[in-house]
Amino acid sequence: MSETTSGATSAQKASPAPPAPGSGASRRGAGHLLRWDVLVTALLLVVFLGGSFTSPSFASAGNLSFALGDLGEIALIALAMTMLVVAAEVDLSVASVLGLSSALVGSLWDAGWAIETIIPLVIVVGAVCGLVNGLLVTRLGLPSLAVTIGTMALYRGLAYVVLGDRAIAEFPQQYASLAVDDVPGTPIPYPVALFVVLAVVTAVVLHSTGFGRSLFAIGSQEEAAFFAGIRVKRIKLVLFVLSGTIAAFAGVVFTLRYGSARADNGVGIELAVIAAVLIGGVDFDGGKGTLGGVIAGVLLIGLLRNLLMLNDVTTEIQSVVTGLLLIVSVLTPRLAAVVRQRRRSPVP
C-alpha cells in the first residue's frame, strides 16, 4: 500500500509556489520585519493598548482573567492544530471530540463514577478518536479534510448517543474551581497557566527538535521527507492522536469551567481554532509557520472580541472584523512584498 499512497501524494504536492519572478530572493531580504507572526504580535499590542484607553474595565484583572480563561479550550486545541497544519493536515473533528468528551464526563459522573477515573478514561477515548482519524488518513491515504468532516459528524453523533438531550451539572467543587480559579496572586486562570506550560513545550518541540523539523519537511514535501527516512505515517498518526487527546482534555476543562456537560458543547469551535492558526501565520499548505504567531493569533482574536464587546460593538460587526482581520493578516505581507519588489527593481 505504501507505494501507491506515497506515489499519489507526491505529484499532487508538486512545489506549490509558482515561479514568481524573483519571489524567493526578495521574500527573505527585508522579510524579517514583515513576517506574519511579527505583524500579528504588533497588532495584538495595538489592541491591548487601544483597549486600555477606550474601555476602563478592559485591562482590569477580572476582565483579563475572564477573557483569557474564555480562550482556554481554543488555545489548547490550537497547539495541536498548529502542528497538524504545519504537517499539511487538518483535524476538523476537534470540536466534536470536545463534545463527546463532555458528554462522557457528564454521563459517567451521573452514573456515579469517580471524577478521578472519568478524566483519564475520557482522555483515552479522545486519543482513540484521534487514532481513528490518523489511521484513516495514514493507512488509507484519505485526505484529512474529508476524513475529519466525516468524524466530525460521527463523534458529535456519538456524543448525542451518550448523553441524548440531558444536561448534567453539579460537578465537584474542587475540580470545578480548578477550571475557573486564578493561580493565586495573578489574573491567570489555571487552564491558562497549563496552556502556557504546554505552549512552551510545543514551541520547543516544533522549532528545536528533530520531530519538529520533520513536520516542516513533511508539510512542504512529503515525498522528499519520506525519502529522507522520516517516518511520515507514524508522525502523522502521532499528531492526530495528540490532537484527539488534547481536544478531549479541552472537553474536560470546558465541562468543568461551565459546570455543564452537554452533547452540543463546543459546536463550531473548529473554525475558530483554524482561524486563529491561520491568523497566526501558519500556511494551510503546510511547511510554514511559528507557534509564537499562533499564540499571538489566538490572543488577538480573543482580546479583540472582548474589547469590541466591551465597547458595545454588535455581533455582526465582530464577525466582519474577524473576517477582515483574517484577510488582512495574509494580504498585508504579500502586498508589502510586491511593493518592496517594485521599489528594488523598477520594471523597464
Binding site: Q12, I149, Y155, G268, L271, V320
Partner: protein, 342 residues
C-alpha cells in the same frame, strides 16, 4: 521500450483504469441504489411520488452549490463562503421582494446572482491576483458576509405571505411532475460538465489544479480561470439563495448557516480531489444526492434521532473509505498485470 504489443497491453490496462475512474461515479450510484433499496424495502413510502419529490427538492440547492464548489476545488482552491452567500442572498432577495410586490422573478434572480457574483469576484480577486491562500480568504469572507447578512436582517424574518406567488411557485411547482428546482440544477450541471470536459478552457481548470506551476509555464491564463471559478461558485450560490427563498418562503438571517462544510463534503464524497485536478461535477452532484438521501433515509428508517448524526458520519466515512480501498486494489492489480517485458 517501444513495442507494439506493449502499447496494446498498456491500452487494456488503461481501459481498466478508465473504468475505475468512472467507477467513482459508478460506486456512488451503487451506494445510492443500495441505500434507496434498503430504505424502500423497509418503508415503501420512501419511493412514493412525494418521497422522491422531497429528496430531489432537498438535493437541488446543495447540488447547485456543489457544482460551483467543484469548479473551485478543481483548481486547487476552496470556497468556504458559499453558505454565507446563500444566507445573504436569500435574505436580501426576500427583503427586495417584500418591499414591493410588483417586482418580478427575473429581477430577483438577477439581483441574487449579481450579489453572489460580487462575493465571488472579491474572493476570486483576492485569491488569484493577490495570491493569498484560498482557505484563509474565504474563511474571512465567510465571516464578513455573514456579518453583513446579520446586520441587514437583525432579527427580522421574511414570511411567505410577503412574497409574490410566482416565486413560491418556482420553489414548489413542477413541470410534467418534475419540480423546477432539480430541473434547474440538472441543466446547470450538464452544461458545466459538458463545458469542463469538452472545451479547451474547461480542461484548463483541471490543468491548473493538477499543477499550478506547469499551468503558468504552459501559458494558461491561471488568474483569469481561477477568478472565473470563483465567479461561478459565487453566482451559483447567489442563485441558490434565490431558490432557497423560493423553496422555503420563510427566511431568517441564518439560512444555509454552516453549509460550507456540507458542500465540501458533497464535493469530496463525489470524488473531486481536494488537492485539485480530479473529479467531475456529475460526481459532486451525486455526492450531494447521496448525503441528502442518507439524511432522509435515516429519518424514514426511524433511526433514533440521537443516532442519526453518528450514522451519517459513519456512512460518509464508509463511502470514502470503500472508494479508496477499491482504487488501491485496482492500482495494485494493474501493476501486477502490467509486467514490463512479458
Amino acid at each position: 521500450m517501444s513495442t507494439a504489443t506493449e502499447a496494446v497491453a498498456g491500452r487494456s490496462a488503461r481501459n481498466l483504469v478508465d473504468l475505475v475512474f468512472r467507477a467513482r461515479e459508478l460506486s456512488l450510484v451503487a451506494a445510492l441504489v443500495v441505500l434507496v433499496g434498503v430504505t424502500a424495502a423497509a418503508n415503501p413510502n420512501f419511493l412514493s411520488g412525494q418521497g422522491v419529490k422531497d429528496i430531489l427538492l432537498n438535493t437541488s440547492i446543495l447540488a447547485l452549490l456543489a457544482v460551483g464548489q467543484s469548479a473551485v476545488v478543481m483548481t486547487r482552491n476552496i470556497d468556504l463562503s458559499v453558505g454565507s452567500v446563500v444566507g445573504l442572498v436569500a435574505f436580501s432577495a426576500g427583503d427586495f421582494l417584500s418591499a414591493d410586490h410588483s417586482r418580478g422573478i427575473v429581477s430577483v434572480v438577477i439581483l441574487g446572482v449579481a450579489i453572489g457574483a460580487a462575493c465571488g469576484l472579491i474572493n476570486g480577486l483576492l485569491v488569484s491576483f493577490c495570491r493569498v491562500p484560498a482557505l484563509v480568504v474565504t474563511l474571512g469572507t465567510l465571516y464578513v458576509i455573514q456579518g453583513i447578512d446579520y446586520y441587514l436582517a437583525h432579527g427580522r424574518q421574511i414570511n411567505a405571505v410577503d412574497l409574490p406567488a410566482g416565486l413560491l411557485d418556482l420553489g414548489n411547482g413542477s413541470v410534467l411532475g418534475v419540480p423546477y428546482l432539480p430541473l434547474i440544477t440538472v441543466l446547470i450541471m450538464l452544461a458545466m460538465g459538458f463545458y469542463l470536459r469538452s472545451y479547451p478552457s474547461g480542461r484548463e481548470f483541471y490543468a491548473i489544479g493538477s499543477s499550478p506551476e506547469a499551468a503558468l509555464l504552459a501559458g494558461i491564463p491561471v488568474r483569469r480561470r481561477v477568478l472565473a471559478a470563483y465567479l461561478l461558485s459565487g453566482s451559483l450560490a447567489g442563485l441558490g439563495g434565490v431558490l432557497w427563498l423560493a423553496r422555503f418562503g420563510t427566511v431568517v438571517a441564518d439560512s444555509a448557516n454552516g453549509w460550507e462544510l456540507l458542500v465540501v463534503s458533497a464535493v469530496v464524497v463525489g470524488g473531486v480531489a481536494i488537492t485539485g485536478g480530479v473529479g467531475s461535477v456529475y460526481g459532486a452532484t451525486l455526492g450531494a444526492l447521496l448525503l441528502t438521501t442518507i439524511g432522509s433515509a435515516l429519518v424514514v428508517l426511524r433511526v433514533n434521532p440521537f443516532w442519526q448524526q453518528a450514522v451519517t458520519g459513519a456512512l460518509l466515512l464508509l463511502a470514502i473509505s470503500v472508494d479508496r480501498v477499491l482504487a488501491l486494489r485496482v492500482a495494485r492489480l494493474l501493476r501486477r498485470r502490467n509486467v514490463r517485458g512479458v
